[in-house]
Symmetry: C2
Subunit: 283 residues, 2 copies
């Protein structure tokens, strides 16, 4: 299977106009919802194999790891990607870190301090549910930092990510691109369903009222941190099935790109087979 | 569906004789491998619903959480349970902690120090892949601690677990009960398959040679820590499908037992619906 979706959702260099990117499209995929769900299910075995190879390499001293960064407006489906795409992968090899509003202690440090602490170890697929990008998104929209500090952060992020890549991390940065109309529907659904009230709080509507400012903050952040070593992907997210499939294809592409091999045994296999075959009685 | 398996694998009080418990049985389940796999798949939706309720309660201040403790000899299938049973559950709500040989720093503290640090937060399903029980199992067999210290630990574990339960943790303790013959087959398979060599090291055969001592250490530990508030379950583990199904049923039983409810909204739902319906244009 080709990576047709991966190619189409990769963000081109230069200025970003999110209004020019369709949020309810399914670019690079020929098929409907049922086909998309089936295509995702069909990837499970290969994703499992690739993840196990990454894990196995670690036992032989490899420093490689993958970090999936999920960003998007409220209800854009970060949780759905975790459940349906990341959930396909052996949980032993996955580390999810969710970044909420920074704590008082975190605010006393540079914005990357808590991010460093959440990085995946070698052999892992790390997933950031929100990330250091909040520090140039909500921080910009809400004025949580001075303009000069926001300005500094774009470069700091690029330096930070370049260092991660140089150290063996493959970054997969995904912006889940939702329309304001679709968000409205999803918030209405949460309000209409008592089982989903726990996911809602009135502040969500205050954030929504700032939609144009968030779009602008995203456009600036995407443009300025869309580097060669750590490019952005803008994933149309109005269709949940496409969003899940697209992230899965990006993960698969990242793992395939590592050209992972099963490590050779560091012991004499035949000798161990003989030991086991000729062992003394155990009891 | 009843919890027939859960009832049969619960360890009775009193002395434990593992040789008297069949390791290749499927107690409490009428059916073959395909039926067992189907039964596990059928539980996915309910497990997902229960886990989301536990998670939702947390947002309303609940302190409840579940801790699955997995113990068993090498190849008994702790990893398989993580993949096939725990893997059914939304990874956002799961925290897996694997306990390897203690580090130098960990050895400078009481054996429960590192365990405390790995405990799940409220709302989570925590999973221990090996646990504080290693400190009365390998520690006893290999003499890593003085006999008096080992002796002290059984009581310390019971006190510790009673405190966890009192604080809102539901403990599900599972010993994956494998036969020595089945372990031999599984180790042979690892040696025969170059893709599994990374899972093997010659020390595994040294441990296997101590099988009777480990059995005795398990029997003592199971007997002495099989408390009313934190009972043990001995799960026949020669059949992988049964092992996975049994743990799933125990988890479901633990979650059902919490009688979890969706938290009521702490905001005026109708007011928020009106706000959303009558919002100002966003751009």
């Amino acid at each position: 299977m080709t990576d047709a979706i991966a190619d189409t959702v990769r963000l081109s260099p230069g200025p970003v106009d999110l209004r020019a990117i369709e949020s309810d499209a399914a670019p690079g995929f020929e098929g409907k919802k049922a086909d998309g769900k089936a295509a995702l299910a069909e990837m499970a075995a290969e994703l499992a194999d690739l993840q196990e190879r990454l894990w196995a390499e670690r036992t032989a001293g490899s420093e490689r790891r993958v970090l999936l960064v999920l960003q998007g407006m409220d209800t854009s489906g970060k949780g759905g990607v975790l459940r349906h795409t990341v959930g396909l992968i052996d949980p032993q090899g996955v580390r999810i870190t969710s970044f909420k509003a920074p704590t008082d202690v975190e605010l006393q440090h540079d914005f990357l301090w808590r991010i460093e602490k959440g990085l995946p170890a070698a052999g892992y697929l790390g997933v950031f549910d929100r990330s250091h990008y909040e520090d140039v998104l909500i921080a910009r929209v809400r004025g949580f930092a001075e303009p000069a500090e926001i300005e500094r952060r774009y470069g700091a992020i690029n330096d930070f990510e370049a260092k991660l890549v140089a150290e063996g991390t493959t970054l997969v940065k995904c912006m889940l691109h939702l329309s304001a109309d679709e968000q409205k529907l999803r918030l209405q659904e949460r309000l209409d369903n008592p089982e989903k009230h726990y996911k809602f709080n009135p502040g969500d509507l205050d954030e929504r009222a700032l939609w144009p400012a968030y779009r602008e903050a995203y456009e600036i952040a995407l443009e300025r941190t869309n580097t060669e070593v750590a490019p952005w992907h803008v994933i149309p997210a109005d269709k949940k099935w496409f969003r899940n499939l697209a992230v899965a294809q990006l993960l698969r592409g990242a793992l395939r790109g590592l050209d992972l091999h099963w490590p050779a045994a560091e012991f004499d296999v035949e000798e161990q087979k003989r030991r086991l075959a000729h062992e003394a009685p155990l009891a």
